[in-house]
Symmetry: C2
Subunit: 118 residues, 2 copies
Amino acid sequence: MALPGSIAAGAHDLSVHFEGLANPTRLMIVERLATTPELRVSELAVYCQVSQPLLSWHLRILRKAQVITTRREGREVFCSLDREAIAEHQSQFTRLIAFGGEQLAEPPTTNSITEGSS
Amino acid sequence: MALPGSIAAGAHDLSVHFEGLANPTRLMIVERLATTPELRVSELAVYCQVSQPLLSWHLRILRKAQVITTRREGREVFCSLDREAIAEHQSQFTRLIAFGGEQLAEPPTTNSITEGSS
DNA sequence: ATCTTTCATAAAGGCTACGTTATGGATCCT
DNA sequence: AGGATCCATAACGTAGCCTTTATGAAAGAT
């Protein structure tokens, strides 16, 4: 799907990230995880009132979307928000709608004649 | 629907908003619209290299997600980013992951004695 | 070792998103 | 008027998301 003037890898990552947030149940998970550093999978399942396999499936999507991270301790799995990755994606999107996504990972070549800021 | 001030409705709105951004083609539309105040539908279709009906369908989703707005002038339809709504949703999400969406104005009670753990 | 708890995965079905093609309505042009 | 352009919608097929039920692997408890 790569296209003209493309944002390429960045755009794909971004759409995957947003896809992770594009569901009420997953948004509920995010909201719950925002109130505490870590939560076990079973606790999240109770809170969201969904079956354990279904929650596991949602967690997989959230992990792929870089919204959460999981840590295994014995037979339990602890989930937490990936605040760093979320902030990174947010800032990427902000840049996208600010300049049009022209420069996503462009080194400062300082070749600018018309540069309004720094 | 869309009761003003409702938290539940807000969460739903948020997932709909993110769903609008959870697609490479739609993200490309957003990127393109970020570089100019307005664009016609046909121009967007050429840029994204998708058929006109398909683009029309994507635009409908973006409109419902409150990502863009459209304005009709004669037989042409001009699209533009709904920057205000986007900023509103972004800030809503930021609040969601910052405090969990519950306490918004909690003074520093400095009363950290009881920290329950189970 | 046996049983229980915790989580992941497989299989299967319903529902929706995505995409193409065809058509129609509205506006502009001649 | 007739034709051309711009956009929306309908009909339809495919692919993928969401959900349930059943099963399995791994660690802790007895």
